[in-house]
Structure formats: C-alpha cells, structure tokens
C-alpha cells in the first residue's frame, strides 16, 4: 500500500466533465445492425405452406393456420405460419430451413403494444411497419439446412442403350436411396397432388429407416401398381414437392421403385395378407389395365368374386402394349399383376367383350360390371395420303412390338406428334432401325414449339441422345406418295400459332416455309380414342355421354346403375389416375353391395 493507492482513485473525478454515454431515446434513435435477427417477414407469394418452419421451431412458436384469401392449391397447403412472440427466441432456424426463402427477418426490434394477444401474428398477412424493411438476417444458399441436390440416378449411357430394349434406369442403391430420402422434409404437399394420395412422406421415411416391409405395406394401401408407377409414373407429385423451390424435387418415383425392388415377391404377398372371406357377390371387369386391375384387387380383397375379361393375351393394358420395355420391363409389370391374381382375381385372356362375349351376358351373370377398356384406337391426321398402308398408328405399332410380331423397320421414317407416345414410338423404332439397318433415321415433327412441347423434358433429352431428329413447329400437310404408290415422306408447313383467341384448335401456317421429311414410313402419334363398339346400339343409346365419353358420376358409376367405368376410356390420362379411379369404383361397388345386404 502506498500513497499512490490513496491518490489514484481520485482520477475518477475526471469523468465529471464527460458527456453521458447513455442514449436518451434508444428506441427511436438506434436501428438494429444490418444482419440483426429482428421481427419476421413472410412473402405470401413465395410461401407454400409446407410447415417446415413449424417443424424446426424448438419453441413451438409457429402454428400453421389457414388464411383468408390464400386458397389451398397444388403445391400449396394454403396454410401460413403464425408466430407467437411469447415463445420465439429469434434463433432464425425457421428462416434457415424455409423451403422457399419466403420467411425472412427484418432488423426491426421495436414493437410497442398494449394488447399481448397481438404478439401472436402471421407475418405477411398481418401488416407490420417492418414489412418493407430491407435489412435483417439473411440466409445464404449454403446455410439452407436441407440438401438441395437430387442424388443422381444411375442410367445406361446412350451408346449402351440404343441398340436394345434393356431398361435404361438402374434404380438407386440402398445408400443412394437413403441419401435421397434424407432430403424429404415430410411436409406432405405431394400427397394432395398424387391422384391416389399415396402416403409419400411415410414411405420415404421407411426408406430412411431401411424398413422396406413397412414401405411395401404403405405402398399397397393406395396402389397395387408400384412396380409400374415406380418406373413410369408421370410423377406430378414431384411438381408440388417443397424441395423443388430451392433445388431438385425429391425423386419420389424412384424411391417408390426402390422400396418395391427391395422386397421379394413372396414377402410382398405375406405382407399384404389374405383376402376377406367370400361374400357371394360377383363382379365382371372389362379390361385388365391398371384401372380394371386396381378395382379387381380391391374388390377381391373384400371377398367379392372378380372376373376380368381381357382382349389381349396378357394383362397390363397400355402399360404392356404401349409403354416400351426399355422404360418398363415386362417382368416388373408381371410382378404387380401376380400379386393381384394371387388375391383370387380370375383373368380371362383373349376374351374380347362385344365379340367373344356380349355385354348383356355380363349384365345378367354378374352383380356389377365395370368398363375399363382404355384408349386403344389411334387417331388419324386425315391429311392426304394418310390412308397409305405405310402410314401407321403409334399404338398399333407399339402393340405389335410387345406381341413380338416381326416388324420391318423402314430405313427412314417420320413421326407426327410431340407427346410422350410420339417419343415412345420414335425411340422404339430407332432401336429396331439400328438392329436391322445399323443406323437411325427418325424425324419427329411436332406442332408445338420447343418451349411448349407436350412430352416430358427427360423424354426429349433422351430422344435427342438417341439421335432422333426432333423438329418443332411443323404442321403435317400431306403424306408424299410417288406415281408408283411408294411413300416418300411427309410434307409440313411451319406453324405460326396453334390456337385461336378462344383457345380453340385452329393452327395457322406459314405456307412459304414448306419442308418434305424423307420417310418410307409415317407414324401418326397424335392421340387415341376408345373403341366403344362392344356396347352395342341399345346400350350406347341408353347411356349418357359427355363429349364422346361415357358420362360417370364422382364414384365412376354410369347412368346405368349396374355399370361403372374408370381409367383412360372415361378420364385418363395416366396410370396413377387409372389406379385412383379404380379404387373409387371399387369403393362404390362395394358400398352398393353393402346397401343391398342391409336391405335384404
């Protein structure tokens, strides 16, 4: 201790002359730092109501609630996050995890309110003074807490695949599938979009957990065609997937395929279990496509006796006679069908109703009849020369390929059409050309321009890889035939527009831009229609129709109370819709039976 220790403390007196450091009015004078985690904002146009923010919030501060003026639509639940500032700790995990980047934070931290209830608010809906604040906590791309990139699907390289009909897609390995399944945020937006409302997040969780048996059970709850859908589904669900907004959608279709590929057929049968005891009711189903067989599966499981009449020698409908083998191998399809027949469904092959057996017969022999005949007649362009024998319909050719009939592949050919069927036939014929002539010369002409192509982008990409010459905005005018009657090719004009002001089909052409595309064969792939001749005149008269299709109610029942219809022939357009419709019809038929039981 020294004299210094006595004097030194008096230096504190110098502060007498300092200005005070306290800010007199901090609430009004001091903005938060540029990256301050202040009050929340939410961009209503971007938010999709996926609820991922609600899931991550460890404080339970977020509730997803309906909001007036925000209707639910595909890919948007219509719900919006409401935040309770009595619980929030401003950790911003909700911002980091937000699937669209819609949820952000301002640098505002001042909010004076006498009513505590108001601190529970829906950002973006309840207008706040910070809604337009520019600064605040930002989430950079690398901070997004869920991975954005899809695990790439192993596929055959173009060179390895174009010479054969071998399946192109390999399927995920277990590790790959787990990684892909890991990306899903279990929001369920996809379920609403899937026509069959498959339990997508749950079966994706089964992949994460490696519990494939549970996965199969979940698949069969809503879809007996998982081998098929796991390969060729149009996967509209992926368009609604929350992950799409900041990266690739989850490969929902491939994960479904992965599950069903992991479980042996016997185990699948064991997991589904036996059908219910026989009820004594009999159902006839016309057409063993996905619609007919889905209803058959459901009804058989309820104990009803189901007979399916099928014109072809094998079941599957367009999935067998339309979709090429390189996309859907027959043995995969056979597995789905084997499970259905194992439920006691009796399929009568080579039985064309209307020819081999009459509708009236079915009406009198069965308690209910279902029509699921698909669309098997190709439409024609009816341009001059289209009646030439070398002008073929895509569906007829595809059917021939499946049945194994010998097809003389032309050295050059033209396909008319820009949809998936056009791609299927072009790619199938290209394979035959390569096998028979060693080179590919297929030209595909579509009315649409590249930006509006009807076919899947993947189909277009793969067709180009397989050396198909794709021409857009070309309108077919005539099949060119020489004096000796030989088909030389297709004449097209440039398309200026396809629809008129009322959105009616009325293509306009630039006639000066005319091209002749060389082809010994022209294939029309512009659409299909149902062959309803099996109905006969009397029934055709009796039934109610809607724009050329049989009219059905929301349960798939026609105006004749013994007849139901489903699938492409009444609705379409794809396998999963046929499956969903098949379920609906089965429920309807079963409930009619139950009502009959109750009455008797």
């Amino acid at each position: 201790m020294s004299i210094r220790d006595v004097l030194s403390p008096f230096t504190a007196w110098k502060n007498l002359f300092r200005d005070p450091v306290t800010i007199a009015d901090p609430l009004n004078e001091r903005p938060g730092a540029a990256r301050y985690r202040g009050f929340h904002k939410n961009d209503m146009d971007k938010c999709i109501g996926c609820g991922t923010c609600e899931t991550i919030c460890q404080n339970g501060a977020i509730d997803m609630l309906p909001v007036s003026g925000v209707p639910a639509k595909l890919g948007d639940s219509g719900l919006r996050p409401r935040i309770d500032y009595g619980r929030c700790c401003w950790c911003a995990l909700c911002v980091d995890v937000c699937m669209t980047g819609s949820l952000t934070m301002s640098n505002e931290y001042k909010w004076v309110e006498s009513n505590p209830d108001l601190f529970r608010f829906t950002p973006g809906v309840d207008k706040k003074h910070w809604d337009n604040a520019e600064l605040g906590y930002q989430r950079h791309a690398e901070k997004h807490l869920t991975p954005g990139e899809r695990v790439e699907m192993p596929e055959l390289e173009p060179a390895a695949r174009i010479g054969s009909f071998t399946e192109i897609v390999d399927g995920y390995s277990i590790e790959q599938a787990k990684l892909e399944a890991d990306r899903c945020v279990s929001c369920g937006l996809c379920i609403a979009t899937c026509p069959a409302h498959m339990a997508i997040p749950d079966y994706i969780k089964a992949v994460r957990d490696g519990d494939y048996e549970r996965g199969v059970q979940l698949l069969y709850e809503t879809n007996p065609f998982s081998q098929v859908c796991g390969r060729v589904c149009t996967h509209r669900c992926e368009d609604s997937c929350a992950a799409r907004h900041e990266g690739d959608p989850i490969a929902i279709r491939w994960l479904k395929r992965h599950i069903i590929d992991q479980v042996p057929q016997e185990k699948v049968l064991e997991l589904i279990g036996k059908p219910a005891a026989p009820t004594g009711k009999k159902v006839a189903i016309i057409g063993a496509g996905p619609a007919g067989l889905t209803a058959a599966f459901d009804l058989a499981r309820k104990g009803h006796a189901v007979t399916v009449f099928e014109a072809q020698a094998a079941a599957g409908g367009m999935t067998r006679y339309g979709i090429p083998e390189y996309r859907l191998p027959y043995d995969a399809l056979d597995k789905d069908i084997a499970v259905i027949t194992a439920m006691g469904v009796d399929i009568q092959y080579n039985q064309r109703v209307g020819t081999d057996i009459a509708m009236q017969q079915l009406q009198s022999d069965y308690d209910a009849v279902m029509l699921a005949i698909g669309l098997h007649q190709g439409r024609s362009t009816r341009i001059p020369g289209s009646d030439h024998p070398q002008v073929r319909k895509a569906v007829d050719l595809l059917r021939q390929i499946t049945t194994g009939e010998k097809i003389e592949a032309p050295k050059s050919m033209v396909v008319i059409g820009g949809g998936n069927v056009a791609m299927d036939i072009a790619r199938s014929m290209a394979r035959l050309q390569l096998q028979q002539h060693g080179e590919i010369r297929v030209t595909l002409t579509a009315l649409e321009d590249k930006a509006h192509f009807l076919a899947d982008p993947v189909e277009i990409k793969e067709s180009l890889e397989e050396q198909i010459n794709i021409l857009d905005s070309r309108g077919p005018q005539a099949c060119v035939i020489d004096d000796s009657g030989k088909l030389l090719g297709l004449k097209t004009w440039k398309v200026l527009s396809i629809f008129d002001a009322e959105r009616r089909f009325a293509p306009q052409y630039d006639e000066s831009d005319e091209q002749i595309h060389e082809g010994e064969m022209v294939v029309e792939a512009i659409g299909q229609m149902a062959d309803v001749s099996l109905l006969g005149n009397e029934l055709t008269e009796k039934l109610e129709w809607n724009r050329g299709r049989i009219q059905i109610d929301s349960n798939g029942r026609t105006s004749e109370n013994w007849l139901w219809s489903a699938g492409d022939c009444v609705k379409g357009p794809d396998v999963i819709n046929a499956v969903a419709d098949g379920h609906r019809v089965a429920i309807s038929i079963d409930s009619v039976f139950t009502q009959q039981e109750a009455k008797s």
Binding site: T11, Y36, R37, V97, E142, P147
Partner: protein, 391 residues
C-alpha cells in the same frame, strides 16, 4: 478429501462430529444472503450461520432457476438443441455454442471450414472480454464501489455492438452452429473492432487506477479468501481461480483447440491466490484477449466457406458415440459431454460449468471464518454464473 476446518473457537463439536450450534443460545444467528441479494451473482442463496460477525458455516442453495436444459435436449433434434445451449450461461453464452457444435461435429464426422474456426475463436475471446467486464463491475460493487460497474457496462455495450453486427444478436448470439458459423465478418468489422478495443483498453486504464491502485480495495481484498494451491486438484479448480494460485492451468494452452496453436500468448498467472490477485489475473487476462483478437483479425483468412454441408437437419441421426469437448472460458474449464445412440436426439448431454465446483464445494469451505462483510466479495471473486450450475 475429508475437510476439517479450524474450529478452535466456535462452535464446538458434538460427540458425533457435527457442529454444536444451538440457535436458542443466542450466540448464533442464521442469515440468508440471496437469492435476490445484490452481492450474489444471479439466482442463488447462501445460508450463513454467524457468530458475531464471523461466519461459522455456510451452505449454498441453488434451484431457483427452475430449468433443465440437459433434459430438454434429450427431446430436441440435434439442430433444435443449438438455440437452447447458449441460455445455459447468460453472460458468456458462446462456450455452450462452441462445445455443443464441436461435440456434434465430432460424433457426426463433419469437417468445419478453416475460416469458421477463426471466427469461432474470435467470438470466444469477445465473449471472454464481456464476461470479465461484468466481473470487474461486480467485484468492485461487492465492496461498494459502484462506479467501476458503470464504466465496464458501457464498454461491454460497445462490444455487444460488435456482437450484434457480427452475429445478429447482442446477448444470445446463436451464431456458432453445428457445421460452422452463420456468416463471415461484416464489411469494415476489423476497424470498428479496433476502435472498441481501444475504448476498452482506455477504460481498463481507469479501472486499474481507480480500483486496483486503491487503498480501500487493497485493504479489503488483499490476503482475503485465499485458495491454497493444494486444494486445486482435489476441488477441480480451474481458470483464473487456479492461475491466481500460481498454477498455469489454461485449456487454450494445455489442450489447444480451434486456432489457439497459431496464436502467440502465455497463460496469465498470479501468486497470492487472494481476492485481489484473482481480480488482477482477470484484468490481465482481459488484456490478453484484446491482444488475441488483434492477432486473429490479422492472421485469419479473409474469405472462404463458413459452413459445411449438413444432412437434412430435420431428421439428422448421429451414430452411437460419446465425446467430451472442453474450452477455457472466463471461469475455467467449460465442457460438454455428449452421448449419441444413433437416433435423432442426444442420448445424454452433460454440461460442465466451472461455477458448479467453484461456488458450491469450494465456497462452502472458504466462507468458514470469513467476516460477513467479505462474503459477497468472496463469492464474486470465484466468478459464479448460477445458470451453469443449474443446467
């Protein structure tokens, strides 16, 4: 080690060895200090038995915070635990963030980008400065010298400004996230930090003159509350409490982590092990932190990734494992023991905060025979943050 305090005068022992404290005799008095007493750092109480103005027995009482972070975490996903941990220690939250993140990263096998290590070290040193600034105010306040707290609170606020612009928050930063840190330094940060450091240095000069070269403070603090060096290991004493006893225990040196091996420094020690020396060690350690921050801002990479890619945090599972991650906080060794069982939740998290050992076992020993008026200063000199006792 069985503790036998010197009880030469009062009270006498009964046959069974317990103290013969007959409250009815009028010789003794029970006094409660806390849980709202200003001399108690936070919600904690001491039950004193005094004889005259001398303490004959002291018991610590905790449990006023009604929390249970470790248990809460067993029901939170690994990412959901991240915003919770900082709350385990209010004045110096960042060690929780660092230890938790490092433990998760080790068990999940994540590589953290180099730049993130630098920023983490920077943040930990910034937090240490704030913690010491609060301590200095508290230590002086315990002797009735309120002005020091006013000064240190002001400069601590300047450091909070730096925290705010770097992390987006002032107190609970939630910035050291498993996988890295949330962002790089903002534009112009180093220059503003330098201004802040100079302000703090200048204030510390004042503190030295007014608090440390002060006859009253010396009279009250020198030779009081001595921790005998032999107690260090048996009581698990770390940090400035150990270094003031002349033992250079510092995790930053002893088990280097983050970027400490690349920084140039020596552990700060003292030798008298009393309240005064502990305060002085902390003041000098604060100056060391200022120096370390300057070194970091010069040596750190100027750009690069700050976050590594994480799996989907919503169902992030971490393989079975266990680890203990430690760091040197302003009070000593801070540690997280994390056990994972392959599920999406921690199986067990145990937080080792130095306050637990220092302020329960050690304090109950040191307080015996202390003067009542020194009790508050003694507790503050151990640097206690009750939240980390009750995790």
């Amino acid at each position: 080690m069985a503790y036998q305090p010197d009880r030469s005068q009062y009270p006498q022992k009964k046959a069974d060895g317990t103290l013969d404290i007959d409250l009815a005799s009028g010789k003794y008095l029970k006094l409660w200090q806390g849980p709202q007493h200003p001399g108690i750092t936070g919600n904690m109480a001491i039950e004193l038995t005094v004889c005259g103005d001398e303490v004959v027995e002291g018991k610590t009482h905790v449990g006023y915070l009604h929390r249970g972070f470790e248990k809460l975490m067993e029901r939170r996903t690994f990412m959901q635990c991240f915003p919770i941990v900082c709350r385990i220690c209010v004045p110096e939250p960042d060690f929780n963030e660092y230890c938790y993140a490092a433990a998760v990263e080790e068990l999940a096998g994540l590589e953290v980008p180099e730049l993130a290590h630098w920023i983490r070290t920077l943040i930990l040193e910034m937090g240490r400065i704030n913690s010491y600034l609060m301590y200095l105010g508290g230590q002086a306040g315990a002797f009735g010298q309120g002005v020091i707290g006013q000064w240190t609170t002001y400069v601590r606020d300047l450091m909070l400004d730096r925290f705010e612009e770097l992390t987006g928050a002032r107190i609970y930063h939630m910035f050291i996230i498993p996988g890295g840190v949330r962002d790089n330094l903002p534009e112009g940060f180093a220059a503003r930090m330098e201004t802040t450091l100079q302000e703090i240095e200048s204030t510390l000069g004042d503190v030295e003159r007014v608090m440390f070269h002060n006859a009253v403070f010396k009279k009250r603090a020198v030779g009081v509350g001595i921790i005998a060096p032999e107690l260090l290991d048996s009581y698990g004493i770390t940090g400035p409490n150990a270094r003031a006893a002349g033992v250079a225990k510092d995790v930053r040196k002893d088990q280097p982590y983050l970027v400490y091996p690349e920084l140039d420094f020596e552990a700060v020690t003292g030798k008298d092990s009393d309240i005064y020396t502990r305060a002085d060690v902390r003041r000098r350690d604060l100056l060391l932190s200022i120096d370390l921050i300057r070194q970091i801002l010069v040596k750190m990479p100027k750009s690069g990734a700050v976050m590594t890619k994480l799996p989907n945090v919503l169902h992030w599972k971490i393989p079975r494992g266990e680890t203990y991650i430690r760091g040197e906080c302003s009070r000593g060794e801070y540690g997280y023991y994390l056990v994972t069982d392959g599920s999406g939740y921690p199986r067990r998290v145990n937080v080792r905060g130095p306050s637990y050992t220092h302020s329960i076992a050690l304090f109950e020993r040191l307080v015996v025979n202390a003067n009542i008026s020194d009790v508050a200063a003694l507790l503050v000199s151990l640097h206690t943050y009750p939240p980390e006792i009750e995790r």
